[in-house]
Amino acid sequence: MTTDPTKPEILVIEDEVQLRRLLRLSLEEAGYAVREAETAKSGLHELVHHIPDVVILDLGLPDASGETVLRRLREWSPVPVLILSVFSQEGSKVAGLDAGADDYLTKPFGCSELLARLRALQRRIKPAVAASRFKFGSVEVDLAHRRVRRAGHLLKLTAMEYALLQLLITHRDKVLTHRQILRELWGPNAEGQTHYLRTYMLRLRRKLEEDLDTPRYFQTESGVGYRFTSEPAEAV
């Protein structure tokens, strides 16, 4: 396996050989270097020896749950992880995200969607331009002065609304589970209180989204959580 140091490296941990072949094909074409592992054990083995730029991890591995792999991996590395799940595996998907995965895709997925997610993950790990200003659409967030403007007009946000916005911006392009957001903003005792989050998300969207019926920036991941996307890719 030749590794070109200029190419970002991806480790694919997936037991389906056809899917591995296809991922290799599209990822190499997109300019990634690809390594493969067939089981959780060999995947972890690879990871111990060499940390790639991104890990693609299938949740349905034959020898261990994806959650186990993630927890082990997170003991020594913060490498971005994208998990692959199949339909009706909501529970394990959320568990994987809570265990430290950065994003997920549900099979069957499109290649362009996968590549967009990978690009977003890489954007995130690049040291964010320590800009104190963040822009999306017509909204400008001044993180240093805690001010939010929309089309030039200063918006009034409550402290909690601002805290939620800041959390989402900090973790932009990453799926945040309900539990993660609730714990961060309201403390560990509020983990089950999804209605706090729904209410504030609705208010935030009302103030910041262009079209409430089809939100562009504050995206809902059914049964999982939210994702803030500053450069929304058209779904394919």
Partner: protein, 540 residues
């Protein structure tokens, strides 16, 4: 013993009137006829010994009384003859014979001169004694025989009546359970015992019919098993495990044992006479007929059910294979032609591939959903959801199926949160949106609305289209599996709406269909609405 004998004598003396039926035991007081029947059945025939004792006591008592009464010994001969005749109406043939002999001997010893001696002085007295013995023997024997015949006749009649009552009760019962209950009731009445039916439970064992009055413990079940295996009666009064509490009679038809008829006899009854067994056997035979009839009926029903489910299976298989094969055929032929150099043609083929994969994806999702519903494996994760969110996620999920249609979303700003499973709601709403897209002309608008219902207990989400609306004949079967509109275009298994219904019910909600506000069809899903708790940091 003495009391019993005196009682017997009193009966004999009072013209053989039967004692008034004594109310025996608790339970509903049955009619006099029934009660007498029961007493007859359970009455133990007086034993030979007690009859003989009765005879001896009666003869001795008369001799004792005669000693103090100044009557001629001739007269006393008539008294004895009368007594023997009377006894012959009560006791069996051999006790009567005994009565004839000992009364002759007693008469001779006590009354015929010389008194207290067996010797007879007079030739005339000897002759008279001989004639007495002859008359007592013949008369007693004849009366006893007639009496026995009459008793036998009555028993036969009782048995016939009992079985007739049973068959009438069975014929009049509308269901098997009612018939079993009637049989049990008749048996309880007739035998004065607790009875029950033991029928195959489907798992190879025997289960008591719920109508039974007799509860079985472990050891009784073992006795029942023996009766079933051997095909012969077992338990009390039989040679198989006579220590058991119950008597178990196999219900036999042809060579098969269809079940058991269990009778719990009163503790005192340790053996049954032939006629009692005969009556029980007759009863069991009637019940066996009933059970056989029921089993034949159930078998017929099962057959019919199998045929129906087989038909359903075939329909499902046909439509699933059609639905799966169509997009697969598209994929295969499109992929084969993909290496063309003609760029616009390749783009068209790619579009076909994309449509086909989406169709397959949707089909597989619906099949999986239906399987989850059918397996009862669905466990909704109810959580607070925002209707706007649910709708936008569903719209994103259906992708370009709604392309080219104006979609109006009408959700009031103050709509409360609802308790729902976001993932199930995504499936529900996208199924409704796809349904609207499939059954209405292209470019017609689709409207999505959300409201709190008038009574404030539910939140309603509606998807309305402006298509041809719902055919009235479809209303009844709209939410059933594999139900498709007659004019529906090819495609779809008819699972979409049944999944909507299943998912809504699983979340404690419901779904309804009706005409839309602008013509067309409108599907409304309802979710229970309850206020959530206060939200900390709510400084608005």
């Amino acid at each position: 013993m003495v009391a019993g004998v005196t009682h017997g004598f009193a009966m004999a003396a009072s013209g053989f009137a039967r004692p008034a039926p004594a109310a025996s035991g608790p339970g509903p007081a049955p009619g006099g006829r029934r009660l007498r029947r029961r007493e007859d059945w359970l009455a133990r025939p007086a034993s030979f010994a007690s009859e003989c004792a009765e005879v001896v006591v009666v003869v001795a008592a008369l001799a004792f009384a005669g000693w103090f009464v100044p009557v001629s010994y001739h007269f006393f001969g008539y008294v004895y003859l009368l007594t023997v005749t009377a006894l012959s109406l009560r006791v069996g043939r051999w006790p009567v014979l005994l009565a004839a002999i000992i009364s002759a001997v007693t008469w001779n010893f006590v009354f015929i001169p010389p008194r207290l001696s067996f010797s007879v002085l007079d030739a005339e007295d000897s002759l008279m004694l001989g004639a007495y013995l002859f008359a007592a023997l013949i008369g007693g024997q004849l009366t006893a025989r007639i009496r026995a015949q009459e008793r036998e006749e009555r028993r036969r009649e009782q048995r016939a009546t009992a079985l007739l009552d049973l068959s009438r009760a069975l014929a009049g019962a509308p269901t098997f359970d009612a018939a079993a209950a009637a049989a049990r009731h008749e048996a309880d009445e007739l035998f004065g015992a607790q009875t029950t039916l033991l029928l195959p439970d489907g798992g190879g064992g025997l289960a008591p019919h719920p109508a039974g009055s007799f509860r079985l413990n472990e050891s009784e079940r073992a006795v029942a098993a023996v009766a079933r295996q051997s095909g012969r009666a077992a338990g009390r009064t039989t040679e198989q495990l006579p220590a058991a509490a119950g008597l178990y009679l196999p219900l036999r038809r042809a060579d098969a044992v269809l079940g058991l008829f269990a009778v719990q006899l009163p503790p005192a009854v340790t053996e049954l006479t032939a006629r009692q067994r005969e009556l029980l056997d007759g009863f069991a035979a009637q019940v066996a007929l009933l059970v056989e009839r029921e089993q034949l009926r159930a078998a017929g029903e099962r057959e019919q059910l199998l045929a129906v489910s087989d038909r359903l299976h075939r329909t499902l298989l046909d439509s699933v294979s059609h639905e799966l094969k169509t997009p697969l055929a598209v994929l295969r032929s499109a992929v084969e032609k993909l290496d063309t150099d003609d760029a616009p043609k390749r783009a068209r083929l790619t579009a076909e591939v994309r449509t086909a994969t989406r169709r397959l994806d949707h089909l597989v999702a619906n099949l999986l959903n239906q399987t989850r519903l059918a397996a009862g494996a669905l466990q909704p994760q109810l959580d607070w959801c925002d209707a706007c969110d649910l709708v936008s996620v569903a719209r994103r999920a259906v992708g370009d199926a709604l392309a080219g249609r104006p979609v109006q979303v009408d959700i009031p700003a103050g709509l409360p949160l609802v308790r729902a499973d976001a993932v199930l709601m995504e499936q529900v709403l996208s199924n409704l949106l796809l349904n609207a897209a499939r059954h209405t002309p292209p470019a017609t608008p689709v409207r999505i609305m959300a409201r709190v219902t008038a009574d404030g207990t539910q939140v309603a989400l509606a998807v309305a289209d402006e298509g041809p609306g719902l055919a009235p004949e479809l209303q009844g079967s709209l939410f059933q599996k594999f139900s498709r509109g007659a004019g529906a275009r090819a495609g779809g298994l008819g699972l979409g709406l049944s999944i909507v219904k299943g998912f809504m019910l699983a979340q404690g909600g419901d779904v309804a269909a009706g005409p839309g506000p602008a013509g067309g069809a409108c599907f409304t899903v309802f979710l229970p609405h309850a206020p959530h708790g206060a939200i900390p940091g709510d400084d608005h």
